[in-house]
């Protein structure tokens, strides 16, 4: 075995090997490594981190209708953002090939929902592949590209997080191929700029494509009956079911359905005829199950046999498979007592003092709409009250202020998220005289998802100019390490916004600590003035500070501390100091 590659890497590699040379994406866990890996495969590829998923998909679509082979990747909630072009491009179809990789997050581990992208595919009438593991993702992505080209239809590949972020030994390599890809746009108004009349025609063509695909794809599918019980399904949960059946020697016939939509009617009919009972295992919604019209033999989510939320674990599937067979469940019960550590902002992260200042100026009359990124962790500092979706901090601020006029509303948004969907929301707030303060946390990267570049990186765009262009007159920038200055500036912004009935913007600018490898030279220590008030480790919650119970004082973990010195400003007893200052005093 040559390689030990991640599902996301294999999706990128397979797309390349099938002829894809352009890719567009907006970062989002668990999908981000797809574009990252694709961009490094060879010099001939074009890879773009777009401003948001809608833009990524439209760009990908435009290349694909010009005959190019294109990949577009995003996470499931990103697909919500791209839904508009997604539905429309299903009708127009493509010329080259367009594969949309939408990564789902059953659990959820780092998302706001557990939605199932396959539902979108079904709704838009697009075929969708659902790989069971990284190796499968490689082969199915190749099939997706071929299918897309052959039927001139966008095709989705939907890996769940466990496929994206699993690694597997596999013997694959970068392949040179001699595909001659035509590369020019041919005008055809009835197709590419269809008016409603032609749209209906396009819809009927799409229906025909789906029929052909389902018949063709499952034509060779063999039913090989050995048991009265069948388990059908797709995705990672099905891979676990396969392992359990093999490991425990269960008498079950397994049918892996690569393409959950569209399924072939013939196949469903024969499965229903042959088997006494059929269990459907898939995540997270009953896409395959719904296509089984007869319900009396079918077990799954629709008859509450399988839970309708959360990730399906090995432990859970094992007990369900036994139950399905009517076997005594011999699996021991465990008393599991897990105290998971919660994620926190890094030591020295610029977001921490910004949140602390926001909380301080608002006192008890603050409402804090937050957004999506590392800085959602502002909840730990009680400076994030809502988190809905990308860009919603700004719109929620406007709405919350209207409904709670006596409160101070301070919204936080990251730089990348601001460009993603924050800008239209800010324009709306200006147009509607909203008295809000927007804090843009600018750390010059998309940190949460693995440090993808941001639009203002090369200074072609500046946040200040965009903010001003949206009609905001009060826009000032400060380094959040300057804690007292931050407090003053926030107070100024609140006052300005109330007085002028308009949004005020404060840009907290400090590069992500993991990016600059910041190490202050002067060591920060806690002196014996410490009264163990808990503020620095509980309220300010720097992970580098902990309680030394024996000494009844706070203590700094030297290995974690980056010596940023910000905790000095938050200690009410002046008990934190640079080590040489301590020496001076002695």
């Amino acid at each position: 075995m040559k390689n030990f590659l991640m599902g996301n890497e294999l999706i990128a590699l397979a797309a390349y090997n099938a002829g894809v040379r352009s890719a567009y994406a907006y970062p989002g866990t668990p999908s981000s490594e797809i574009l990252e890996y694709f961009s490094k495969i060879s010099d001939e590829v074009y890879a773009q981190w777009s401003i948001n998923e809608k833009i990524a998909l439209e760009l990908a679509g435009a290349e694909a209708i010009s005959g190019k082979y294109v990949l577009c990747s995003m996470k499931q909630v990103g697909l919500n953002v791209a839904a508009d072009p997604f539905f429309s491009i299903a009708y127009t179809g493509v010329k080259g090939a367009l594969v949309i990789a939408s990564a789902d997050d059953p659990g959820p581990y780092s998302s706001q929902t557990e939605q199932d992208s396959r539902m979108y595919a079904m709704s838009a009438k697009l075929p969708v592949f659902d790989p069971i593991n990284p190796e499968d993702a490689y082969f199915l992505t190749k099939k997706a590209v071929d299918l897309s080209h052959k039927y001139e239809i966008p095709v989705m590949i939907r890996p769940v997080m466990r496929v994206c972020h699993s690694r597997q030994s596999i013997d694959v390599d970068i392949e040179k191929n001699n595909l001659i890809i035509s590369n020019s746009f041919e005008k055809d108004t009835a197709r590419w700029a269809a008016t409603p009349k032609f749209r209906k025609q396009l819809h009927s063509i799409l229906n025909q494509k789906l029929k052909d695909i389902s018949n063709k794809y499952y034509k060779e599918f063999k039913i090989n009956k050995k048991s009265d019980f069948a388990v059908v399904g797709s995705g990672y949960s099905f891979a676990m079911a396969m392992d359990i059946v093999a490991e425990d020697g269960l008498n079950i016939d397994l049918y892996k359905l690569d393409l959950p939509f569209p399924l072939s009617d013939e196949l469903i009919k024969s499965l229903l005829e042959e088997y006494e009972k059929i269990l459907v295992i898939e995540e997270t919604q009953p896409v395959i199950e719904m296509q089984f019209a007869r319900r009396d033999k079918v077990f799954g989510r629709l008859n509450d046999f399988i839970t309708n939320m959360g990730e399906l674990t090995y432990q859970y599937l094992q007990s369900k498979l036994y139950q399905f067979l009517g076997k005594q469940n011999e699996i021991e019960e465990f008393d599991v007592n897990v105290k998971s550590a919660k994620p926190r902002l890094c030591p020295g992260c610029g977001h921490r003092p910004a949140f602390y200042a926001i909380k301080k100026v608002a006192k008890n009359r603050g409402i804090f709409p937050g957004d999506i990124g590392c800085y959602t962790l502002g909840v730990n500092l009680e400076a994030v009250d809502t988190c809905i979706c990308m860009g919603a901090s700004v719109t929620f601020a406007e709405g919350l202020k209207r409904a709670n006029n006596d409160k101070v509303v301070i919204a936080t948004i990251g730089d990348s998220t601001f460009f993603h969907t924050g800008v239209p929301a800010l324009i709306n707030a200006v147009a509607n005289d909203s008295k809000i303060v927007l804090a843009i946390l600018d750390n010059e990267t998309t940190a949460m998802t693995g440090f993808q570049p941001v639009p203002h990186k090369h200074k072609k765009i500046s946040i200040e100019r965009v903010v001003k262009g949206c009609g905001v007159d009060f826009c000032k920038t400060i380094d959040p390490y300057d804690f007292d200055g931050s407090i003053r500036l926030l107070n100024e912004a609140i006052e300005y916004s109330e007085k002028n009935s308009t949004p005020a913007v404060v840009i907290f600018k400090h590069p992500c600590i993991t990016k600059i490898k910041y190490k202050g030279k002067k060591k920060v220590v806690i002196t014996d003035k410490c009264k163990n008030c808990k503020i620095c480790y509980e309220k300010f919650e720097c992970p580098a500070i902990f309680e030394d119970k024996l000494a009844n004082a706070a203590k700094i973990d030297e290995l974690l501390c980056v010596n940023c010195g910000v905790c000095m400003s938050v200690c009410p007893f002046d008990a934190i100091a640079y080590v040489d200052e301590v020496d001076d005093e002695v």
Binding site: S110, I132, N133, M161, S166, M242, K339, P343
Partner: protein, 169 residues
């Protein structure tokens, strides 16, 4: 060779890299491995656990009481996951406390790394070499050569690590 292994710790302690390094070594030596990681929020100091299976498997998942090995970069996270360990399984845990039990190695790898390399960043290599020596079947020299090839380690560091470990393994 078939075994189940759980590697856990807190975000930032190199759990994912350790998982990938072990999988890589085994793959290069011709074994079939599949593993599952968690990314994202978990990387900001939260709990991280990764599953790794060696053998002909379709998934990296396994249930409670089914791990042959648990490798943990953190004592608390070992406690959070120990229900996965088989009764006769082994655990390898980095801890600064004086913990002991019958089927495992508990030791302060961070301290050792600081002592020899003036940096905590080699701590997980101690865990890695203990794991491979417990596993048997694989020559530590092969492991070393792969690590040197991938520029993760050099001959000198390897010798120093093994010297420190000779009492443990």
């Amino acid at each position: 060779m078939r075994f189940n292994c759980l590697i856990c710790g807190k975000g930032g302690q190199g759990v994912i890299t350790l998982n990938r390094t072990i999988g890589n070594i085994l793959s290069l030596l011709g074994y079939k491995v599949i593993s599952a990681e968690t990314h994202g929020m978990a990387m900001r100091g939260g709990s991280v656990s990764t599953f790794l299976k060696c053998g002909e498997f379709k998934s990296a998942g396994f249930g409670y009481n089914q791990a042959d090995y648990i490798i943990s970069t953190d004592y608390e996270e070992y406690l959070n996951n120990k229900h996965y360990l088989k009764n006769d399984g082994y655990n390898i845990v980095n801890t600064d406390k004086n913990n002991k039990n019958n089927n495992g190695v508990f030791f302060d790898a961070t301290k050792l790394s600081l002592k020899i390399f003036k940096s905590p960043k080699y701590a997980n290599y101690f865990l890695l070499f203990i794991f491979f020596s417990l596993l048997g079947k694989i020559d530590l020299i092969d492991v070393k050569n792969i690590l040197i090839n991938q520029k993760l380690l050099d001959e000198n560091k390897y010798t120093l690590i093994l010297k420190e470990l000779k009492d443990v393994i």
